[in-house]
């Protein structure tokens, strides 16, 4: 176990130790009571006209109904959306006001690109551990269909100047600057602001760097669909999902897809990058609409409300990489966050029973796994003695992940936390210790957030 700043704090319960603080108080546990999401819909599908607030409220109301939270004053609700209109500055509070929760429930918005959902869970869990709140709802929502569209910079400046102009001649002078091109709208895109490369193009560079084959990516995508379909068949999502707008399953799911069908798709990313293009619409996540929520609580609050305690939120870690000039791949930050988090708890891959690695692209998952198996990378970049190790594929995304379910950016964290908590609860104990699950989510801006959950 590499040195880190916590080793000087002495033999304390690692589950309740604040990193770097020698005098950390004994923290209480934050537990996942359960979750609720709406099925994820491919963009332009069932939720085309539903706003972020509509979907978040739908997911929230399903959660309230499932756990009997009508008129309940929850300690705090935190959620967010990646694609958010400026009028939705209080998106989460507005969703709370539109829900059956007590109107005295405070709420805040959070945004950390695709890590938004997981970060709301970690932030609220920390508040519960500290005793600041007893209950919380974490969540996330995104609509690629109902995306905000901005006016051009030229028109925006003219409108703002027009607002500042005081006299008619001044206003006319401002208006005279208007040109036809100023009327072209400015739609959001998936390009990284500092590089102009799309997320898919960035990942294509990383995929080629780690020599991930087309076959390996297609296989991962195939397994995602197969596992998600099996989970639906087994009724796994019955307690995790509320139908919405006629959908009762994720509309991206293709239970009948085959490796042959996936192999027939044409590459869409990395076609001009020199290396062979291997990333297709089949092994990349599609744009998706959807929302998810997770109910968190202290043990006492859950007991007092006669609610289940599925799993505890053990700990989380964020990392970021210097991707701008290609030192690391855009989506490789979890490769750095996971070993730091494991080290803090003295854990290795053999101590993890479920790996939930968000499938932004099949290439992202496989590049991350390859990095952890690469001795050179682990020694020089992670500061380890050798390779971190191999992830047992039988433990990876066992109920499917984003390639099959879809990925409404901020909603993915809540989907994974609620599903993993249920899996951990079902697994219970492993070799006399609670079952453990690792969550890894990559995000735009070269960021990543990871977390460990344990069966309660």
């Amino acid at each position: 176990m590499p040195e880190n700043g916590t080793s000087a704090t002495g033999p304390k319960d690692t589950t309740a130790r604040a990193a770097g603080s020698a005098a950390a108080p004994q923290l209480r546990k934050a537990v996942v009571v359960g979750g609720n999401r709406i099925p994820f819909a491919r963009t332009g599908g069932a939720y085309t006209k539903s706003s972020n607030q509509d979907m978040l409220t739908a997911a929230l109301d399903g959660l309230i109904a499932r756990f009997g939270l009508q008129d309940e004053r929850i300690g705090e609700v935190a959620a967010g959306a990646v694609l958010k209109h400026s009028r939705d500055f209080n998106l989460t509070r507005e969703a709370v006001l539109g829900s059956a929760l007590s109107a005295e429930t405070p709420a805040y918005d959070l945004q950390q690109a695709c890590a938004t959902g997981l970060e709301t869970v970690l932030g609220l869990a920390n508040k519960i551990k500290l005793g600041q709140i007893d209950s919380a709802i974490a969540g996330g929502v995104d609509s690629a269909s109902d995306a905000p569209i901005a006016v051009s910079e030229g028109l925006r400046e003219i409108l703002l100047d027009l607002n500042r102009a005081k006299t008619l001649p001044q206003r006319l002078q401002v208006l005279s600057r208007l040109r036809p091109k100023d009327l072209a709208p400015d739609a959001p895109n998936t390009g990284e602001p500092r590089t102009g490369l799309s997320m898919g193009e960035h990942q294509a560079l990383t995929t080629a760097q780690w020599k991930i084959t087309r076959e390996a990516q297609d296989e991962l995508a195939y397994n995602s669909h197969r596992n998600l379909a099996a989970a639906y068949d087994a009724g796994f999502f019955d307690e995790l999902l509320t139908p919405y707008r006629g959908l009762s399953k994720d509309s991206n799911l293709r239970p009948d897809t085959t490796l042959e069908k996936l192999a027939g798709l044409k590459p869409v990313f990395g076609k001009n990058l020199g290396a062979e293009a291997t990333m297709t619409a089949g092994n990349s996540t599609p744009l998706t609409d959807g929302a998810s929520t997770v109910l968190l609580a202290s043990e006492d609050w859950a007991d007092a409300h006669d609610l289940p305690k599925l799993a505890t939120v053990l700990d989380g870690e964020a990392a970021a990489v210097d991707f701008v000039h290609g030192k690391d791949g855009l989506l490789m930050a979890p490769a750095f966050a996971v070993p730091r988090l494991l080290a803090r708890h003295g854990l290795g891959f053999e101590d993890i029973d479920f790996f939930e690695i968000h499938e932004a692209f099949a290439g992202t998952v496989l590049s991350t796994l390859a990095a952890w198996e690469d001795e050179e990378f682990c020694r020089t970049r992670l500061g380890l003695d050798g390779a971190l190790g191999s992830v047992d594929r039988a433990k990876l995304n066992v109920n499917g992940s984003s390639l099959a379910a879809g990925h409404p950016f901020a909603a993915t964290g809540g989907r994974i936390v609620a599903s993993l908590a249920k899996m951990l609860h079902a697994k219970g104990q492993v070799d006399g210790r609670p079952a453990r699950g690792l969550i890894s989510i990559c995000a735009a801006g070269g960021q990543g957030v990871v977390a460990i959950l344990e069966a309660h």
């Binding site: 091109k181 590089t195 102009g196 490369l197 001009n272 990058l273 020199g274 000039h325 290609g326 030192k327």
Partner: protein
């Protein structure tokens, strides 16, 4: 050279008047068949107490991708000094035709930062007239000092080529430069340059050279389409290098194939670090992802 007799101008010359005058001079020389000899002007031009407009600075910073800080970007100082360099090339005793000159390379040394609120003394002159296999080249040098100071905070050397102009008494190197067999690396950035890129840079830099403004105005000067300003491209690359460069750095660029607008330009920036991990240099190269041709390359290096 910098010690040459300075001609103090009362204010920064107007670029648009300079372009009109250059066109008139070109026409006059064509009709009369006269030229201005084979010597560069022996004097320098200087303007004292120049200040940057903050609105213009902000627009420049936003366009180039620089954070709108109070420090003038090195490329902004080039644009600030550019009319003065142009006025040197616009002199009656300047031996080469100004219009149609090709910007080959640009070298800047930024020794200390310049704040937008400071008054500046700017001096420019021409030197180093010499042969080129395709014509005649020379250096336009500009220096920026704080008003009344001796210390040069910014120094730029722009090398221009007058293509097809061979002056008597100046030898031309006969061998063409060998092709360096450029092979595009993986990009670290991809720029989408719209057809209005030239107009946008003209409005923040004041450089309304017709070859950058529109298809029509570029065609009038023999180009098939408008091209992006070289200093726009180089300044974006400088901005892309980011905060690592600090306050004191050198910044070089060599231009190759022009960027015809609209265009997609791929860019690779690679960082060179010292043994202690400190930033030494960022090398950049830009090319067309369509044709693979190199557009420009250069580096930003620490002065330490």
């Amino acid at each position: 050279m910098s010690g040459a007799q300075p001609v103090i101008l009362g204010e920064m010359p107007s670029l648009s008047k300079l372009y009109v005058n250059a066109a008139a001079t070109a026409a006059r020389r064509r009709v009369l068949g006269t030229h201005a000899g084979t010597q560069l002007p022996g004097c320098s031009h200087e303007v004292r107490g120049v200040t940057a407009g903050v609105a213009n600075l902000t627009a420049y910073q936003h366009l180039i991708g620089e954070t709108a800080s109070d420090v003038l970007p090195a490329g902004f100082l080039h644009a600030l000094a550019f009319p003065l360099s142009m006025s040197v090339m616009n002199r009656d005793d300047f031996p080469l035709p100004l219009l149609g000159m090709i910007h080959l390379t640009n070298k800047v040394v930024q020794s200390a930062p310049v704040l937008f609120s400071e008054a500046l003394d700017i001096r420019a002159w021409a030197e180093n007239l010499r042969g080129h296999r395709a014509g005649t080249q020379l250096d336009l040098v500009a220096e920026v000092r704080g008003a009344g100071e001796d210390f040069v905070r910014w120094r730029g050397v722009s090398t221009y080529l007058a293509k097809g102009v061979f002056l008597p008494g100046i030898d031309k190197p006969s061998a063409a430069a060998a092709s360096d067999g450029f092979r595009a690396p993986n990009p670290t950035a991809l720029w989408q340059l719209g057809v209005d890129t030239g107009r946008a840079y003209a409005s923040v830099s004041g450089d309304f050279n017709p070859i950058h403004l529109s298809v029509l105005s570029a065609k009038a000067l023999g180009m098939r389409r408008s091209i992006a300003h070289g200093m726009y491209l180089a300044s974006r690359a400088l901005a892309d290098v980011g905060a690592a460069k600090g306050d004191a750095f050198s910044w070089d660029v060599a231009f190759e194939a022009p960027v015809f607008l609209p265009a997609r330009v791929a860019l690779d920036i690679s960082t060179v670090q010292g043994d202690d991990g400190a930033w030494l240099r960022s090398d950049y190269v830009a090319w067309s992802p369509h044709s693979g041709r190199k557009h420009f390359s250069g580096s930003v290096a620490s002065l330490k």
